[in-house]
Amino acid sequence: MTTFTLNGEIRTVDTDPETPALWVIREQLDLTGTKFGCGMAQCGACTIHVNGRAQRACITPIASLEGASVTTIEGLKGADGSLHALQQAWIDHQVPQCGYCQSGQLMSAAALLADNPNPSEADIDTAMRGNVCRCGMYGRIRSAIKQVAGASFYDAMEGSQNG
């Protein structure tokens, strides 16, 4: 039995203690926003927050969450249902393509900004390098993070169009 707080609610699960949190969250707790991309901590699709820090759910044994406070993408919104600033920035910059990596990207970015509200380029690289986006939206992700961090940035949506 493992008891932990998930998006503000206390949950208790009964399963093999080494089961990765990813599968418990998806299969037993029916929160499917956290994605499976590799199962080996190589892609970041499964990123969640454990006590405020970004962690890969695919290699997090469920037993290790005993007493922890866990947030998934479903819990990133404010208590009143308002979007997290990063979620809004993701919409403003039209970041998602297929969208499959984006829960993980957002959770990594949110943990970064919570820890470091004014990240440098190198800070962003370090915090985000564990998150693969096969649709290649890195430029937009970077712009969206910088928008929230209040930094100036190159806007991919600008560019130009003419006849």
């Binding site: 029916d30 956290t34 130009s160």
Partner: protein, 758 residues
Amino acid sequence: MGKWTRRGVLSAGVLGGTGLVIGIAVRPGNPTETAGHLVAGEGENLLHIYLKIDSENRVTAILPHSEMGQGAQTALTQMLAEEMDADWDLMRFEEAPASAEYANMALGRGYLFKGVDFPDVVVPTVDGLMLNIADAIGMQVTGGSMSIRTTGQYFLRAAGASVREMLVKTASKAWGVPESEIRAAESMLYHDRSGRSAPYSEFAAAAAEMTPSSTPKLKKTSQFTVMGQSKPRHDVPSKVDGTAMFAMDVKRPGMVYAAVKRTPVAGGTLRRVDDSAARAMKGVIDVVKVGPSSAAGLVGSYSAGDTIAVVADSYWRAEKALAALKLEWNTEGKERVSSESIFEQFDRDITAGIDRANDVAMGDATATFDSAATVLTADYRVPYLAHTCMEPPNATAEVSADRAEIWVGCQNPLGFRQHLAASLGLDVEQVTLHNYFMGGGFGRKSNADYALQAAMIARQVGRPVQMVYSRAEDIKQDFYRPAVQSRFKAGLDADGKLVAWQNTYVDKHEPVEAPLIPYAVAAQDIGHVASPTHVPFGAWRSVDHSQHGFFTESFVDEAAHAAGRDPYEFRAEMLKDKPRLLAVLNRVAKEADWGRPMEEGRGRGISLQESFGSIVGQVVEVTVSGGKTWVDRVVAVIDAGYAVSPDGIKAQIESGIIYGLSAAMYGEITIEDGAVAQSSFADYDAIRMHDSPVIETHIINSGAEMGGAGEPGTPGVAPALANAIFDATGKRVRTLPVIKADLRNDAEASPAVAALGA
């Protein structure tokens, strides 16, 4: 632009395998009669196969393309809304059901009758014909960068315009006023003289009784107010809060989970399995075998060997038990095949040139080479590539004796449905397919093998089953961009002009024009030889362009340097009679500030590639230090004729560039002992945040026929990269990926260059 000819029809007949010729006029009539029950719900009127209107005056576009990230659904909806004069805020869209009524006529027409200009009178006939062909071969495909330029251009715009005409006609009757006095705007009809107005929904039911015209009057570009705008994508909000549904997010009552392993050597069979340890593990329900499968057809043809599956009450337990199986596989005599042996075979076959087939034979190449002042030769090679969609292949299935239901994300729902039915021994009507967002497709999800595996497992265990590939299985059981070798020879005359071009390569697929060059070279001899391997082929973003773009645009660069010329000017001079291509080339050079001096250790390279009806120019800037390459900046220009959604096109170009760059920098699937050696992002990596370049995209709206956007960004990045590396180091990368090339060079002795890499 070709004319409507008998030959066009005959080739369609041959391709479709149906033997249909014109003269059998198959008219589609009013398709709403047959499709209505499939898509129209309570309070909704289906006015056209592609659109319905509800009592709240909301218009829903019904789109025969899947969403794998390319955002085409929003752009297609824009095209329909534009011609319909609909209020954008009242527009919705949904994906068409996997049903023959939504077979992709437009794709067929764009694909099979490329360049044929149909007179209006035969359009209904051709559509009927295409419907039959599409039906026969199961075309409801998303691929070939086709959605906008075929479905959108030929069908959705016409659908919107014809429905607008029907609504005006209906209102004119009801109000007793001439059609010419009725104005349509923002989903409303107005008769200004009498001050009357009504929403579209008021006349929807009556208009639904009419048969839509196939040849309504379409707007001119100058009249567009919805097309040409960067409308926010409808699917984006659901993709930032975890609510977007992918196939793997489906849960059925009583559902169990399957982990699978298919024969490591493609086409192999399972010799022996000892499952005693696995069966004893907690939660394990069954261990089942799935036999080989194959599909034939114009798209999505494949063949695959035996699979073993462990079914358990959780995916984790299924995976663990799968690892506990003791398996012996037959290697079908392929156990000695390796990447080395494959490239040795290519080399032999190119040298032997047996049954070499020409793509182009122009001028007298032999004589021109004999008289050329300079002749250069080079062999280029690219490895196999996997797709590694972010979402590994998965499917959920429920199968009984007389019906099957499947939840999947796929690029060809109708084709999948037909393949499932045929393989399960059911009628197509007995198979229901629910298509979901794909977490990437890139061509991988046009092959139905993974859906069939799930269905076969579900049938054996008699319960709903969700089958999910591990990442290792995804990489090892792909259908690969082939390994290819190309042997080039170029001749320059005394003035440094490129006068002769020869290319012999292995392995020809689609598009047939991929190996051609756009440049004015008088003598050309381009051909291919067969050199088959057992490694399965699959469409990979931009298909044959992905290798030939690298080959030809690198070798042209070599010719420019051999001639002592600037690579941009060298190309431009050979494009004097191709103004559209030249405009793209000039523009990308200008935007990249071509010619601006660069520090030592840095370099820039250019490329130009026409594919899927669009032209893309790219300039890549790199830093090379310590033998390592950083891609700093990519400038891209695309002429897709007309940009329906400019930001959507930019996003696709960014995406295509990163996809191509991942492959160029790191991508390599190798074969060892007949099997794929890679198994994870650790040995098959992708570009990530820290090594992704700044990408600047510029759009030219030339007004030419619309081209695609999903694939054309991919082919040009590898050659521009290799050309930039040459500029920086004097070293020519002729074999990908770049990471394997030895790029240490003299410039690195300079402390300034060494500092770049620090």
